[in-house]
Subunit: 207 residues, 2 copies
DNA sequence: TGTACATCAGTGAACGCGCGTTCACTGATGTAC
DNA sequence: TGTACATCAGTGAACGCGCGTTCACTGATGTAC
């Protein structure tokens, strides 16, 4: 049985490499990440990596895939927790988005900033679509609350909210340009989505 | 006089290097950009770069600085063109943001994705703050339209719109994950900001 | 107008480095009998 | 329980490469007299 043995055989090198990669990507960006350093951090020769991955890109793709897996789970969980209120579900997925980005920065970067395409392999595409699907489902059930003649396409609404969430993460959650966030990112996203939902007519205009 | 002479002396190497860098950054991302290749594309030895820049990072910083310069000008121009309507001004700056990102992708990437800090040198910090200041001014004059008790902080509003704009650029204007944008980025930003402004009570809730 | 000379912007060779990847190998593990 | 052997997961040396940066140099330009 594989496990805690340490010797010539690592026991769980594949996952150890993914985790080393995630730590490095978080610390130095996708640019700074190198296969050799990930191997070293896992206590192994660079050549050993090739027993488990086709190469550098493949390792990043696996990190991203695991990220999408966590991400999709979190989104689904948030969605269900908000039910039966479609508004609560929608807002919860928004919060979950930001929480994911903060808690799993290495995964987030692998997914959205490493430049790897979600179509690079079927597993990755599948789980990514599961994640995005949850975002859209949340938007869809929310739109059902609106009278048909005031109902924008759900995909558009989910794109708006996704864009604002991603923008908050990139600009204010990590310190991209001047590292001076005027407000806590959580508040920024919360208020931003709040105003947006009011604009849709889903929150009463007073208060 | 410097100019069109080509021989041992380039004549305008500094700017030629910046432009080569911008083209490379646009084509390959900040990762793929190398000083040596920029030099080659300018028809010059890598060592020649050091007559004009302290090194690789400095070259990127200059590309970003020029980007902020163009960006700030465009924003100011858009703002003034929208006057005296504060709403028109605000919307125009939003459109100008996206237009800039599309028209000057190399600059945009240098500014927001290359990882260089706007505080790396005073010139850069100054022009960046000029650009951000215009965004805030647009939000401020817009907020003056609202009754005081319904007036969110201008900096927050400008952060919201900036986040959404940046998110649209990253996710839907370039093909980050699956390269499938459900809507044209211009429309996405236009409608998104429209809904947001309605939420602020700045556009009448019907229509 | 001509000459001497300082200044400047480029060359080209060299450096040390770490990268991703390959290869033949070897040590450890698991299984068949 | 013991032995032979196949399988597997690692090693370590080597590769070619392009990178950023340095250095002493040299060719071109501009200026003083």
């Amino acid at each position: 049985m594989a496990g805690k043995k340490r010797g010539y055989h690592h026991g769980n090198l594949r996952q150890a490499l993914v985790e080393a990669a995630l730590a490095l990507i978080e610390a130095k960006g996708p640019t700074g990440f190198t296969l050799s350093e990930a191997a070293k951090q896992a206590g192994v020769t660079p050549a050993a990596v090739y027993r488990h991955f086709a190469g550098r890109e493949d390792l990043i793709a696996e990190a991203a895939r695991q990220g999408y897996e966590i991400f999709a789970d979190l989104m689904e969980h948030a969605y269900e927790k908000g039910q039966p209120s479609s508004l609560a579900s929608f807002e919860a997925t928004g919060r979950a988005y930001l929480a994911f980005a903060r808690k799993f920065p290495g995964h987030y970067i692998s997914m959205f900033e490493s430049g790897i395409s979600i179509n690079r392999n079927p597993d990755l595409a599948h789980v990514a679509n599961r994640a995005f699907g949850t975002l859209e489902k949340a938007a869809e059930t929310l739109m059902a609350e609106l009278p048909e003649d005031r109902r924008p396409p759900a995909r558009m609404v989910s794109a708006h909210v996704w864009a604002m969430s991603h923008g908050v993460v990139e600009l204010f959650s990590r310190g991209s340009p001047g590292t001076k966030s005027p407000f806590p990112p959580e508040d920024l996203l919360e208020t931003g989505i709040g105003i947006y939902l009011r604009g849709l007519g889903l929150i009463r205009p007073d208060t």
